[in-house]
């Protein structure tokens, strides 16, 4: 059990009279990618803040094993530092300047932003900024990556590209990942396991494992089927297709 980098046991969190999370139990295995989806305002970000240690639970236990880094929706980069300097924040443990510079270059290559090392974040597009954030979080020996809707401020196509990019980055530098998102496609395309939360007070309502190897196409049957399951669980889709299929089968009989 101690090998689980992130473990939550009956974690509840209330803000005054408002109960946000109720008895959430969840453990994430090393190298596993877990996505948490749910209706907006259900407490996804609260859950992530508890995982990161920025916030403490009202009751329950949280065990963390390893260095945690969080990636934000936007503006998580320090605007007064260049791209290279921001990435180097993740390499602060390295004493040698040379080694820091070498690894920074490597990360710049990894996110395909060579030539942008001296740019400041405000000079980059939203998608480029998020790639720099990912590089910073992946720098050095971080263990646990907490992603707080990292692509939701981007346009649709950029979002699709960055999902592929994240899958590739994690392939090269495996990490334990918890992704919080309202983008169900994103969850289905990236996660090994999707956790669906209920309305407030949020409880785990449904869990779904997706065994297909990353990178996955958005239109991969397993991904499509996972999206359908999640949407049905959230009460947005109503199994019309399956119902239609049945009636079609009845007709052909």
């Amino acid at each position: 059990m101690s090998s689980k980098p992130l473990q939550l046991e009956k974690v509840s969190r209330s803000f005054g009279p408002v109960e946000v999370l109720r008895e959430i139990s969840l453990s994430i295995a090393r190298g596993e990618f877990v996505a948490v989806v749910g209706p907006s305002g259900c407490g996804k970000t609260t859950l992530l803040n508890l995982m990161s240690g920025f916030d403490q639970p009202s009751s329950g236990l949280i065990a963390r094993d390893g260095q945690v880094r969080m990636v934000y929706q936007q503006d998580g980069l320090f605007p007064w530092l260049t791209v290279a300097e921001n990435i180097a924040l993740g390499l602060r443990h390295l004493k040698k300047q040379q080694e820091q510079a070498r690894q920074t270059d490597e990360l710049l290559r990894l996110i395909r932003l060579e030539g942008f090392e001296s740019h400041y974040p405000h000079q980059l597009s939203g998608g480029m900024r998020q790639r720099v954030e990912l590089a910073r979080a992946l720098a050095g020996q971080s263990d646990i990556l907490l992603l707080d809707e990292p692509f939701s401020a981007l346009d649709y196509l950029t979002r699709l590209r960055l999902r592929q990019e994240l899958a590739r980055l994690l392939d090269e530098r495996p990490r334990t990942v918890a992704l919080v998102t309202h983008d169900i496609e994103e969850a289905a395309q990236l996660a090994d396991r999707v956790i669906v939360l209920s309305e407030r007070p949020a409880q785990i309502r449904y869990e779904l494992s997706i065994a297909v190897k990353r990178p996955r196409d958005l239109t991969h049957p397993e991904v499509v089927s996972a999206i359908h399951c999640i949407l049905t669980e959230l009460g947005i889709e109503h199994d019309h297709e399956r119902a239609a299929g049945k009636s079609l089968a009845a007709l052909t009989e």
Binding site: S52, F54, V68, R69, M70, Y72, D75, G76, F78, P79, W80, L81, L89, G90, R92, H93, Y120, P121, H122
Partner: protein
Amino acid sequence: MAVETTENTNAAKSFLLPLVVVVALVALWTAVWASGAFHESALPSPIAVMRGFGEELKSGRLINDLITSLFRVSCGFGLAAALGIPLGLWLGQKLSARIAFLPIINFFRNLSPLAWIPFAILWFGVGDASAIFLIFLSAFFPVILATMAAVANIPTVYFRVAQNYGINGLERLTQVTLPAILPQIITTLRVTAGLSWLVVVAAEMIAGRDGLGFAVMDSRNGLRTDLLVVEMIVIGLIGVALDRLLVQLTKIQSVRWGYER
């Protein structure tokens, strides 16, 4: 090439157009003077002002007054920044301190430093100390308030990122808090430097025996309207120059984000 040409035209324009306005204003002034609408002692001619300028330069008095005034502003303004920024940092981080001190700081910020002139003379006499004290008062409270607001408005995300990457304690102050507020600090310094330059003239008119403000008063007493205009031009130009100087700070690469977003 096309871009370059436009840039050249723009550079020429930004020099020529203001020049045209200035020449037009001097022409208007000359016309009004020549029309005789004002008595000779109430409005000097541009020629008389030019002669006055030469006279002042030759005697060295103008340069001395200029240096005196600049010295006072540097001291008062420097002191205000040196004390006001740390105080603002502290107040920005401590909510209870902010609640306690904000009303009184707001009170002093809205009290014209000129109202302090009598006390300044009683406490510090006529001269450097009085003027420096008044300039200090003009800049100190705005600097505290602006720094405080800037610190209180730093996005929480930056501090969380700092925690994630092991930036704590003094490092957090120098590597996160300060750079995060620097663009606003620079803007505040520009505004308050302008304020200080306004105040030094008034302070020296009453509580000075030298400096540009005193020179204005002295010219008035001697009915030298030509010198009065010389001094007014110099005061205005130095004010603009001070701002141009401080604008250079906004060109530092690591603060550009504060002005371009």
